[in-house]
């Protein structure tokens, strides 16, 4: 590592990408809210609204290309995530699931869109808010469906277990339902987006830095860029997958809250 550093030292030391690359300067003045992630969230809302208004405005029996794209996305969420998992009451939850899926997908894909190139969900506060909304939704549904006492009792006491085991198991169940579930939901999305963006930064910035080095390192840099491009396609896969998993788990939690016994 040290010799590599010395070889490329002509253009100054290489600063490896770190979490500092996720902090952006403000657009104007000292307002700490006018930064790139906030801008991207508003942009995503605007883009999604425009896309679906255009896709559904001239709905016809023989769909246009835009209408077909919008309908197949909606059909995927409604059938594969709503109907197959939640069951016969699924129609009430499709708006929430669909909003969640499209919002996360758009914000993730911003990570590989040229010029934007920052996945909003790699700032941990955005996944936290989404996970809190899911948390409130599935507990509210469970409490309203079964009544608060039965719902809590179902979570705390698993049927068919010797009484002494409840001392061991009840804290785990409570921790799972009220702490671990929303936490892992948010952290899974955040960590995937954070690590993916960091990985792309390492290869692209590293390739750029190798290009400034001596002739031997210049020859290596195309490999770094090629890996960067390959990993960009891999990132696209991960971004779609994480949006899907977040929505899938939300649907599963809702289905679990609706079911009579846990």
């Amino acid at each position: 590592m040290r010799s590599l550093h010395l070889l490329s030292a002509s253009g100054g030391g290489f600063v490896p990408p770190s979490s500092n690359d996720f902090i952006f300067p403000s657009f104007f003045g000292h307002s700490q809210y006018a930064t790139k992630p906030i801008f991207l969230v508003f942009l995503s809302v605007l883009l999604i609204s425009i896309f679906f208004v255009l896709a559904s405005r001239k709905a016809a029996i023989v769909p246009s290309k835009l209408q077909f794209a919008g309908e197949s996305l909606y059909g995927f969420v409604r059938n594969d995530l709503g109907r197959d998992i939640i069951g016969h009451e699924f129609m009430r939850f499709v708006p929430y699931l669909f909003t969640l899926f499209v919002f996360i997908l758009t914000n993730n894909i911003f990570g590989i869109v040229p010029l934007l190139q920052f996945p909003t969900m790699s700032h941990v506060s955005f996944p936290y808010v989404l996970a809190i909304i899911t948390f409130v939704v599935f507990h509210y549904i469970g409490i309203r469906k079964q009544g608060i006492r039965k719902y809590i009792k179902d979570i705390m006491f698993m049927p068919g277990v010797p009484k002494a085991a409840y001392i061991l198991l009840t804290p785990i169940e409570i921790a799972t339902y009220f702490i671990t579930r929303p936490l892992t939901l948010a952290l899974r999305l955040f960590a995937n987006m954070f690590a993916g963006h960091l990985l792309l930064l390492v290869f692209i910035l590293g390739g750029d830095h190798l290009l400034k080095g001596v002739i031997g390192l210049k020859l290596i840099s195309p490999f770094a860029f090629a890996f960067g491009i390959g990993l960009t396609f891999f990132e696209f896969l991960v971004q779609c997958l994480q949006a899907y998993i977040f929505t899938l788990l939300t649907a599963l939690y809702i289905a679990g809250a609706l079911a009579d016994e846990h």
């Binding site: 069951g87 068919g160 785990i172 671990t180 579930r181 599963l252 079911a259």
Partner: protein
């Protein structure tokens, strides 16, 4: 299709993590309080075994 089948599979990691964190946390607190250093390991092992028992109750028992 029973809705709970897939949910149980997804929640394995959650159960393991919360079991370890809760009982490991209890062990860590006991260590901190009593100035010992073996309750943490005991708590972690207890948490893991309780979690695996719970996972067996959720997944293994249903499909007899």
């Amino acid at each position: 299709m029973k809705p709970n089948d897939d949910g149980a599979a997804w929640s394995i990691v959650g159960y393991l993590l919360s079991g370890m964190l809760f009982w490991g946390g209890v062990g860590w607190a006991l260590d901190h309080w009593l100035k010992t250093h073996y309750f943490l390991l005991g708590g972690l092992l207890l948490g893991v075994s309780a979690s695996i028992y719970l996972i067996w109750l959720r997944i293994g028992r249903n499909s007899k």
